[in-house]
Symmetry: D2
Subunit: 508 residues, 4 copies
Amino acid sequence: MENWDGNEGTSAFHMPEWMIQFADQKQEFNKRPTKIGRRSLSRSISQSSTDSYSSAASYTDSSDDETSPRDKQQKNSKGSSDFCVKNIKQAEFGRREIEIAEQEMPALMALRKRAQGEKPLAGAKIVGCTHITAQTAVLMETLGALGAQCRWAACNIYSTLNEVAAALAESGFPVFAWKGESEDDFWWCIDRCVNVEGWQPNMILDDGGDLTHWIYKKYPNMFKKIKGIVEESVTGVHRLYQLSKAGKLCVPAMNVNDSVTKQKFDNLYCCRESILDGLKRTTDMMFGGKQVVVCGYGEVGKGCCAALKAMGSIVYVTEIDPICALQACMDGFRLVKLNEVIRQVDIVITCTGNKNVVTREHLDRMKNSCIVCNMGHSNTEIDVASLRTPELTWERVRSQVDHVIWPDGKRIVLLAEGRLLNLSCSTVPTFVLSITATTQALALIELYNAPEGRYKQDVYLLPKKMDEYVASLHLPTFDAHLTELTDEQAKYLGLNKNGPFKPNYYRY
Amino acid sequence: MENWDGNEGTSAFHMPEWMIQFADQKQEFNKRPTKIGRRSLSRSISQSSTDSYSSAASYTDSSDDETSPRDKQQKNSKGSSDFCVKNIKQAEFGRREIEIAEQEMPALMALRKRAQGEKPLAGAKIVGCTHITAQTAVLMETLGALGAQCRWAACNIYSTLNEVAAALAESGFPVFAWKGESEDDFWWCIDRCVNVEGWQPNMILDDGGDLTHWIYKKYPNMFKKIKGIVEESVTGVHRLYQLSKAGKLCVPAMNVNDSVTKQKFDNLYCCRESILDGLKRTTDMMFGGKQVVVCGYGEVGKGCCAALKAMGSIVYVTEIDPICALQACMDGFRLVKLNEVIRQVDIVITCTGNKNVVTREHLDRMKNSCIVCNMGHSNTEIDVASLRTPELTWERVRSQVDHVIWPDGKRIVLLAEGRLLNLSCSTVPTFVLSITATTQALALIELYNAPEGRYKQDVYLLPKKMDEYVASLHLPTFDAHLTELTDEQAKYLGLNKNGPFKPNYYRY
Amino acid sequence: MENWDGNEGTSAFHMPEWMIQFADQKQEFNKRPTKIGRRSLSRSISQSSTDSYSSAASYTDSSDDETSPRDKQQKNSKGSSDFCVKNIKQAEFGRREIEIAEQEMPALMALRKRAQGEKPLAGAKIVGCTHITAQTAVLMETLGALGAQCRWAACNIYSTLNEVAAALAESGFPVFAWKGESEDDFWWCIDRCVNVEGWQPNMILDDGGDLTHWIYKKYPNMFKKIKGIVEESVTGVHRLYQLSKAGKLCVPAMNVNDSVTKQKFDNLYCCRESILDGLKRTTDMMFGGKQVVVCGYGEVGKGCCAALKAMGSIVYVTEIDPICALQACMDGFRLVKLNEVIRQVDIVITCTGNKNVVTREHLDRMKNSCIVCNMGHSNTEIDVASLRTPELTWERVRSQVDHVIWPDGKRIVLLAEGRLLNLSCSTVPTFVLSITATTQALALIELYNAPEGRYKQDVYLLPKKMDEYVASLHLPTFDAHLTELTDEQAKYLGLNKNGPFKPNYYRY
Amino acid sequence: MENWDGNEGTSAFHMPEWMIQFADQKQEFNKRPTKIGRRSLSRSISQSSTDSYSSAASYTDSSDDETSPRDKQQKNSKGSSDFCVKNIKQAEFGRREIEIAEQEMPALMALRKRAQGEKPLAGAKIVGCTHITAQTAVLMETLGALGAQCRWAACNIYSTLNEVAAALAESGFPVFAWKGESEDDFWWCIDRCVNVEGWQPNMILDDGGDLTHWIYKKYPNMFKKIKGIVEESVTGVHRLYQLSKAGKLCVPAMNVNDSVTKQKFDNLYCCRESILDGLKRTTDMMFGGKQVVVCGYGEVGKGCCAALKAMGSIVYVTEIDPICALQACMDGFRLVKLNEVIRQVDIVITCTGNKNVVTREHLDRMKNSCIVCNMGHSNTEIDVASLRTPELTWERVRSQVDHVIWPDGKRIVLLAEGRLLNLSCSTVPTFVLSITATTQALALIELYNAPEGRYKQDVYLLPKKMDEYVASLHLPTFDAHLTELTDEQAKYLGLNKNGPFKPNYYRY
């Protein structure tokens, strides 16, 4: 990853081929004037950080104790000290958070129940690197109930909920994570997860690819015992495909990011709600009658457009892909080039995954009070760096909201400095996290139990039947009643009564 | 196909393995009391008939002439008699229809223009078997302009527009088709297309698989020269996959049915409109406040649900697939079993592709005046046969609308006798047909020009880039302006500026 | 009314002041070349004709008998000949139609049931002039069950269903109406209703104002015994207000047209559905992605816009009233002047009630294949007369659809020659007619039973409580369950538990 | 007002007849256990407080200074001390807030421009009692620009923005208001506005009726010079109608609350957005698939239902009024009694204006985690008092969110303790406030300039033409272009080209 490789003086790592793509991002990034320290800065260009960082506040004040957790001696009530968290005494509060989350993650709880008879992960030694939240805790404790041993680090230096980490440590999970790690802490924590006497992981659960990368670089021999990698993020998956293409992937990997439930929920349905939430919380604007241009009509763009149209906005769409463009047309949106409408719109939203979609030239032409924000991924879509020039004045009007003021007095309203609006300025419902966590658990089970030869050294999508199983576990939330095929119908359709129900190329 | 094989006494054909699945359908069907003659009856269980039969009326009266076209001697104005149509004198009227269709099929017209320089189908000898309509004529004449020679038969004994067939014959196309063919005529026409002295097809364009089947049975050696098959229908594609599975497919085949443009347009968008149209034309009902249950939440079901919800109906959904079920929930529909709501709903719509989704038991429990119709495929979804019992009275109240009356006076309103509502009772916009026809043309070009070895003896989806090209040709209709990637952006995304823009598993 | 007064040579009538407004309409109209005969022509500018003419076909062929009903001697089975219909023998077929309509008019049937104990119209002698349809028959027979005597004529020379008229005559109602009356027949029929020995009406139910006008002109003394007028149409109501303003209204009149149930149902909800229906039946167009301009954002415009937006059209709105304009903005429609979008739109729909909203200049600038239609009222909104010029070619492509072709080949698609699309090209659901008919019945009951002095010689809206009652009678159709106020709540709100629930100025 | 009359021991006031209705509310309220002090408590039952209290935070810390403003000696930079605010030094910050608000209140700014030539309020002496916010400041300064002298107090003891009050005082407005007034302060401030030597108000602008009441009680003679009252709130209007009914209203009053722009914007459109905002900010819930019951289908209920349906919730409606009920049906909502769905819904929202719509019995039957909130008015709709019983545990989980826990562990999530969700937990867009403020300004102009006799001692709605004018001033925000009638069209419609465009009973 760019951040730990870029510091060439202090690092022994070479940048692998699959990292070159991200290099230019970093270059730009480093030019940006900022008050944030270098280390945290370099972390923040980790894709996994920006992709999944939740704005949920930590519930207790962690500023009261300036000692680094690495320098503390802590033990849980059973006497174990195989963990490193901010403050083990916060465990009780964290436990309550976990219990609340359990109520809203019925699918994982259902998996636990089924695990009372069989332990599909018996013998599994899972090393994980994800955000450490109450929802992750429910996942980890579910993996434990299914028979696995787990060691865990955080995939983001900011996102750890210290109380939850404490609760996990208290109940015996070796967790190495706290809110506000330095970059050095970050890698130290990961290393503590994998570099253990008498314990070698045989499964990897990763979010962003940092853990995977660390093992590749430092302990490549570990892969001999590893049965597979489960990866959740866009970035991590991208890296796995590049490894695979280059012939360097040495274990099977499961691409959880592109499972249908994750795509439709995290993207389409979740963005349908979070675009409204993010805009309201930051600007208190009224949607009715506003002119909006949405750049990109993938799942994220579709969600944003649907919500804004429903609230009475007039929505324009830009696209590069003619198929998505045709969908936008049929869904009732005018397909334009950004230049055609940039002078008239009240809001610009990027949802492309691309870079420099909104350029300084566009920003120069926007009308006074135009709101600009990013729902895509990472922080590249709006050329925010181009606004860091002397003739423009920045005014922070509230948290996550800057006014950038032109010499003639024109202001644009920039949200979250161009980072992801929904992660910075709105929250992610537990229900969505539950779907992803359940998918991760099933992917681990599948890879761990797959007979020799079912999966090769390649990147796989979750078998459709498992996708369907994840979905079925979430239906009771809606009091939804599934119909079963009769024997006659199953025969007629040439389907097994229990699925899978669709060919692999089915689009939903 | 089941219909011509079932008449064992009069046919030399054996039923191949890949037809067995359909046999039970036919058994049931034959038990059904009906006044329709045997021949037309047996035709009507052809999947391709019911899948694509358009209700569009023939514009001139064809009943004035009882002579079979096979017994007539007709010549076009250039002296050719290599065709067989109802009446060559109707050519002028048909030409006007074709000209009107050309206006609404800009993509094919654009292909023609590009063909002025190059002839990508030069040397192609295409034998086709599709509905013979003005839109098909535009396709055929485009194939001609691209360099191909064509011979054509109808895939349905009812759907031929005689005037259009005449116009095609007049301009030199060997067409063998008329409205109201007998079963014997049907096969005779197909045979006249392929069994010609001094001409052997090297490409097949099929809709339903009858032409392909005929060549398999009668002229298997022809496949030595055939470069590929392009198939449009669900049924035809199903058969090709079964042939492939059985190792009997001896040329590459292109599955046009599952291309994204066709799926989304023919199914999602088109059904969104045609469900309303079909219900209004047959029943003049008001949608507002009506309770509706839609069985199946695939693309067709999604389209029906969206339209009815938008018109103020209260919509319930049934599903067997938990993923589609979860989508229904997130889209705001209560997911139920049919039994739970069958007593209270005003309308029942099937969109499953399955059989006996609505059983006699369901029909018995529906409330008075409940409307029952099928938007799925074929005529199996509603167990209409179960209503052909002595205690129930059938009353034909208008074309395509029957009241079935229970002894206690309860009536249900059955539309199109359970056949496809949108094909029987509404019309298909030319724009949708244009997308399919363009896709067919591009699939032919691709298969014909593919270098040796690109395609094996298997069933393929259209390369994504071609799907994208079809879409791009239809954007001008909406005055839609596509954005182009900059070089820098293309490099960042790792994409070619001209596409394809998405991985193969992308769901749109 | 303008049409029968204009023929000064053949008519004894003077045009009253309140007709002057319509005169210019007629002037234009008469200039228009047409093949339709003069009489029917002059009838067709009757507002009531165009406002309410249903396209529903007559079910039996009435062309078999060329004898004028006025020249026939007919008796019903009880020996009465106090009626004049096409053919009394069609009564049985008409009776079946009435029975079907009864099933869908539960509110009137509920009124009948309540009438078994009391007869609120006992002694009422109602003369009516409305469309003669199955739904009207249910109304008339309900009035009869409530104690009234009725005599009835048609308000439109085309809209009478002969079978229904026969059924009414057979069951004893003096009905004077048939499909295809001449203008002379029209007035003869009205006169036969009012000019009877030994019978004088004391209530008037009118639709369009022709009956009221006739009595004003010919039998002004009748008003001494008349307790009130119930009028349904925009035009008739307009005339009543003008009479009132001029101090010439000599009995109370009830404006049924502006009751909230009628406004919202006939206009908002009904148009929401009929715009789609009318466009589909005439053009088979696809709505998705089409650009549409809707002129006028009243209830009709709101209904049209909502439906088209829901089907994926891109909708622009024009308005003269800033309040409606602001609503359009908040509902997500761009508010434009017609000129701004006329070159780009695919469909132009007028919903204004105004004249010359679409001018020849607009028509000249529309793009090829643009569809033009009117959902407002009357036939004045599109300046169709301006298209009747030598340089333009008219081509009738199907019923109600004309192509008007410019010298350069551009075609516009004109629907229903600019008359009301929903009445000409779609059907009106019985449910909507039921609401209007129930409102008429209650208005008659109210006026007939009102204590002396409650109503003066003015035009009134239906008392809110009656509007509410009409609504409540239609809730069972939707299996809708109303909540009742507790005593405590009623006291808190200062309301009677049975309504009325809203102040008179409430807007719904 | 009920609260200051109830404390009979400490108050000289008698409760007038028109306050009796509210008395029982207060009784209940006083029984409620609470930690809030008595005075603030009694204030909170002021209708105007709960109707319009904005949650917008004060931008500077006002807790730093415990001295009562009444005890301070403050002067503005011009030497005036005719005001009483928290801290005159905060004026600069407040000025910036006002300037930002000016940008979003173009209608008032447009009025100011027009006032450069004429001063329609020259000579007006306006005493006002409203929330003191930046938007109010823009209104006040506009009134000043139009020629009026103003004196102002706050209508709510909590809602004053101290910085804005300071800015107004600094620029010369006698303002008497601060955040956190005691009840005594409240009346003292009002009194300081009216009880001035050498200055008598001739216009009243009131929000809630407290100012009006004070003058009625203390200075009835002032009404001799007062030209009229402009009142904005539901409660204030209700009181005026009761005064009028009792023959005690001695000047004309303008009911601004029921103007169409206010009704549709504050209620329909604003609630459409704020229901989502309020629920998200408090609960982070996902809307998709949730079952919701909305009690009441007036403008507020319509807005809530539309938004939730659009976000994928399944919405049920309860109603007492059959007309609104029928609208709910036609809009696609199942109309139920609350009892029918109370066990299954995830959210209960009240929008009735009624009391005890959600009773303890309902609350007992809700399922675990059900969310309960109020969008109607006041705090009476949910019987919150019934939850203050020993067997239930209250847990404050975040600001405005309480978990109420049953003995069996069931929790319901109560928002804002049953007070208005949108005012407590979301914000009101400036655009909406702009419409109301403009309407108030025009109402003042109209009453002040009306010729003798136009308005009697009664309550009036704003003349339609002024409503239209308010709307027209807000169209430029949307770049909306109004169409003008031609002379011919105006004549045809019998309208003035400049409006008003609709009859008074028009419903929009």
